[in-house]
Symmetry: C2
Subunit: 382 residues, 2 copies
């Protein structure tokens, strides 16, 4: 710990989100401590310990000297979260808020209870209930496992009730019973994302709503702000995210994935209670990045300005990475071709479909910015 | 080391310049290793070893696995630098270039030999020679020790030849003989700084020339770009820095401190061969920060775009820091008052005159930006 530091934040999980908190922590003079799942994780530089986030004793010991505990992911079990709270630690977001990010059925029920617009949905316990849902929804549904899904995993479009039989069988084997989430197949124009940050003492700050372009269920590109978004819908998106943050008592960054429907409505798709891929553009593109804002928020410090820095910011993920060699092997070509595009290399070995980095381009002409970001990312992907 | 990393940079010195290289290294996926002078230094997060930079064996051992060796400061002795080169390590900047940043007499002679405009100067070995210089220069001179000065230390304005007797005596005691540097007292309108970066393979990139405002010989504020600078003088400043970088074979960032004289000339004051206080504005204010550019340059990677991100960027140093408590104790007030101003907390204990951090503000109206940066910095300084 550097001599003048005085705030210590413990982060559970050592992936790229923890890694990208490090620059913000350095600027703010925060002593960031990361509990990584294993050696050689993305946030290795700040990883001060390695251990299992499901192990109550390990997590308690790791967090014991922290002013605040926060997360790289949402998979820490409720029992561990409650043990941290019971030990008197400041946990942001807290267990009750996180439950809505951990369990999609809980999330849908909570949002419906708040009057937040969501797709038509039902908890379906077996194929008969799914058949009923299909009948009522034009014969198609998006079926999701309530827990454990991410990046398109645990999500399936079904048109026959038998198409989820394996998941029902798995639920039965668990011994927990439980249901799947069935949702209408939304006729959407595009996907949006709206991030906000909220302090324990109540202040909320919203970034511009962005357009999020998915490929194979994984975020591929983000355009900030969402091009041509009706200002009224932008207001609705910000209001929805603010209402969710306040009602669920979310602390830190909340990212709300949204559908802009073909008939001009905004519906909530998913929630994430941490910095999110749809907000990586903010590192260069906003006066305050989502990583700095998350640290400010969990420490209950006044939030930073969320204004954009440029007319357009485009973030493109590097999915999979080079088929031969490392990302760094491509730097000579990529940097020479696009001197104004910024790279974020997560320090992970390339693997098909894996998020190994992203690039960000900024400027006043959207077509140019899109081209530069896509072309630079492509140089790392073949 | 994270699994996908492949470039390792060793930094000798663990001050705030090494600290501010860390965010850039994280983004680029560079494994940055810092040899700090002691525990608890500013770059503690990346400090992988502690030791004396004057100890050849220690430095050689620390650097042995690095792809490139670079520096937080210019105090590494020539014998150590040459030992690194002799061991086959890539040292950037190299010993010959660094000599001009280590020895002001060497620097003045080198620049004069290159035809670069500098103040009138002489090497003065005793008070008689200083008396002659004073006679020839209107009875006033700036006298500097050739080595070891920084932030106004080792610099004295004299009007009588006896006023440097203590320094002459110290030189004689050294047993090395040697001289002081005497310079004309330049009638300058203001001080400017011009930074460039240069790769070993030759590419040079320049940022905008900036205005640097000193107080008590220490950089207090930087305005980027230099307000109202004649475009012809801006071109001269960039050409001078480029010429120096090329002629002295500087690799990495070169910062050239300049006088804009009352009669409209540009003269070189000092050189620094590393990221420099006059370039901290570039962290937020330029597409490519001086810290990222330094890493690109020393790794011989194509340089990034140096365009400004906003109309005006103002950097104000936090000198000394709070008289009571820590910088973090002031965050509630400061962040609430100036949500758009960025803080860089170097993690150092406050001490009169010590650079403990800086703030950066950006925008289109210079008066507003200046006010915000100065007022935010002031909140940390009383």
């Amino acid at each position: 710990m550097a001599e003048g530091d005085s705030m210590r934040v413990a982060v559970i999980g050592g992936g790229q989100l923890a890694r990208m908190m490090v620059p913000a922590a350095i600027n703010l003079g925060i002593d960031l401590r990361v509990l990584a799942e294993s050696e050689g994780m993305s946030a290795d530089l700040a990883a001060t310990d390695v251990g299992d986030y499901r192990n109550v004793d390990k997590v308690l010991q790791f967090c014991s000297t922290a002013d605040v505990v926060t997360f790289d992911h949402e998979h820490v079990p409720q029992a561990v979260l409650h043990a941290l709270v019971d030990a008197g630690l400041a946990v942001h977001p807290g267990p009750d808020a996180l439950l809505a990010a951990q369990d999609k059925l809980h999330m849908r029920a909570a949002l419906t209870g708040l009057g937040i617009p969501v797709p038509r949905w039902a908890a379906v316990a077996d194929s008969a209930e799914l058949a009923t849902f299909l009948e009522q929804n034009n014969g198609a549904a998006v079926v999701k496992t309530a827990r454990g899904g991410y990046d398109g995993k645990g999500v399936r479009i079904v048109r026959a009730a038998t198409e989820a039989d394996d998941w029902f069988a798995a639920l039965a084997e668990d011994g927990n019973g439980g249901s799947l989430l069935a949702e209408e197949l939304v006729d959407f124009r595009r996907e949006l994302a709206q991030s906000v940050a909220r302090r324990p003492s109540g202040q909320v700050a919203a970034w511009s709503a962005v357009e999020s372009i998915q490929r194979d269920g994984v975020c591929a590109e983000v355009i900030a702000p969402a091009p041509g978004l009706d200002p009224e819908l932008a207001r609705v998106a910000a209001d929805i995210a603010t209402a969710i943050a306040e009602a669920l008592n979310v602390t830190g960054v909340l990212a709300v994935e949204l559908f802009e429907t073909a008939d001009g409505r905004i519906l909530v798709n998913e929630l994430a209670m941490r910095p999110h891929n749809s907000g990586h553009w903010s590192i260069e593109g906003s006066v305050t990045s989502q990583f700095e804002q998350h640290l400010r928020a969990v420490l209950d410090l006044p939030l930073g300005d969320t204004a954009p820095v440029a007319g357009w910011t485009v973030m493109v993920n590097i999915l999979g990475g080079p088929t031969t060699g490392t990302m760094a092997d491509r730097y000579q070509n990529a940097f020479a071709a696009f001197p104004g595009v910024k790279i974020h290399n997560y320090g992970k070995d390339p693997r098909p479909g894996r998020k190994v980095g992203h690039v960000t381009a900024m400027g006043d002409d959207l077509d140019t910015v899109l081209h530069e970001a896509r072309a630079m990312a492509a140089l790392f992907g073949d």
